[in-house]
Symmetry: C2
Subunit: 319 residues, 2 copies
């Protein structure tokens, strides 16, 4: 408990995850409505869209329009996602997003082959190209992520040593290009992590690279999202990705309320009740989670939007 | 991590919680089907019914019949719940249940007044009567529970000192009647606990009463069921109540998949993946969770029954 952070940075990815995965179609104005509502909750970073092939991800065909229409609130970093130079150029062309570069390695060779048709070596080579592209556009690069860091549906368990080796690879890449990577996000892409594996991997990474800041990208597919986040907190992790109402979900079972990404308001509830600041107004966020459910038109997995916060109960108990 | 238990005892309460709260009506034969399926999962304790007023809990009107019809598997303790002498007598009359007495105090005076129309003092007096009743029927008493130990919807936060005082009261009660209470179950009846409050209260209780075994009864209403269980594990807690598929749920929002009790298969998944034995076959338990969903006719909150275990993925990854 001694290492628990006092403040946690939450990176809201609900709009991007949700609009990407939901069958919809969701009207552009409702996407804008969700983003604008999130802007009033105190969240400091919101990923609003992805710039991907609209033929493959129809829910993102209106990404450019969404970006032009939502109301930018000062102090919030609005981000986007891209997978290639074309996507990056579209993101840059919007002129309104906070464009930061990030390196991305994957701990599973099989997952990498299936999803990006690359070998581990080819993926490292691709990062060199990516760095050159970012530099060409004057995009700063201070972060990296490692996908499938805790296990892979196609390859099975991932040895922690491999992940530590990939962090070394990231540092080598950075050094070669005169960059400084300050944060590495460990992604439990396919929900294989447990509190114990979180503690072990984060602990090993922290021991080997004490100066490196670590973030966690967690999924709740097997019900351990908050438990894994708690284990991360106990190891001093102070940055998490999450989605309001658990948007994103499991595409194969979204209607059943199957959980995908760890849910922002559940995380905020846990943090707030443990005295950890997030800057987020939980009551407002719960309302936005309910709005998200209304927008997608089916139940979403988060619990606190149904269970409620303790604030009104505490207030009533005073009387 | 050093205090994590090697084996965890799970007390399955799904049938009792589920049949009690579900609108149904659920045919008796389907209740029996669920209990018989649970008997094949390796669970060692299953609470099958409650002996309550059928006018108030119509789902338990067939409790006596359920008890006569399910197939008792050797080695499993089948238990029931009762709230008064009439209920206990019905439970005893079945002749097939494992009848053990338990003392029950409540940490919230307001909750106690609302639910049992008793003051704290009257509730202690009622425990004396209960002990006499148990003794009269030769029912052993080695356990006690404290409801609302982490917070109360009507009274707000519950000071840890009050819970420690109630443990003292339990010991005093036991001493007066020549009993030895070996285990106290701390119940987060209204889902107010966080991993931090679990650690603090369990830690304080353990420090003050080092010989006492502690169990946790957790609810997942605000998404922290597994996180709270993990915090308990880290404090050495090795016994939990839980319900298959999260049966029980929130009566006000069951159709939305709102979580009530912490879900057995999610807990077993977490424990198994962390190398902690439960004696439970997770794959079979997942099938029973799916059966439970079929029986109640609407989605239930558990995650692993949708997300799946890692066993088939690991097996496939070997090829």
């Amino acid at each position: 408990m001694s290492h628990m952070p006092k403040f946690v940075q939450l990176n809201e990815e609900g709009p991007r995850e949700g609009f990407q995965i939901e069958k919809g179609p969701i009207p552009t104005e409702r996407k804008v409505e969700l983003i604008d509502a999130l802007s009033e909750t105190g969240l400091s970073q919101i990923q609003v869209v992805s710039f991907v092939n609209p033929a493959r991800v129809p829910g993102m065909a209106d990404a450019g329009e969404v970006v032009q229409r939502f109301k930018r609130k000062p102090g919030i970093r609005y981000t986007g996602l891209w997978l290639n130079s074309k996507g990056l150029e579209r993101a840059l062309a919007t002129g309104v997003l906070d464009i930061k570069g990030s390196l991305s390695l994957t701990a599973s060779a099989k997952f990498l082959a299936r999803n990006q048709q690359r070998s581990m070596e080819e993926n490292v080579a691709a990062q060199h190209d990516l760095i050159r592209l970012y530099k060409q556009h004057n995009v700063p690069i201070e972060r990296a992520s490692i996908m499938a860091a805790f296990g892979c549906n196609f390859e099975g368990d991932i040895p922690h040593e491999r992940v530590l080796g990939l962090i070394r690879t990231i540092f080598d890449l950075a050094e070669e290009h005169g960059l400084t990577i300050k944060l590495v996000s460990l992604a439990d892409t396919m929900a294989w992590a447990t509190p114990l594996s979180i503690k072990r991997l984060v602990g090993a990474a922290r021991e080997k690279y004490p100066e490196l800041r670590l973030a966690l990208h967690l999924h709740d597919t097997r019900g351990l999202g908050c438990a894994n986040a708690y284990a991360g907190l106990e190891m001093g992790v102070d940055e998490f990705d999450s989605t309001v109402a658990g948007l994103g979900g499991c595409p194969f079972a979204a209607h059943k309320g199957a959980a995908g990404n760890v849910c922002t308001e559940d995380l905020v509830f846990m943090l707030q009740e443990m005295g950890i600041e997030t800057g987020v107004n939980l009551e407002r966020l719960i309302e936005v989670a309910q709005l998200a459910e209304d927008i997608v038109g089916h139940p979403l997995p988060g619990s606190v939007k149904m269970g409620g916060s303790l604030k009104p109960l505490r207030a009533a108990a005073m009387h």
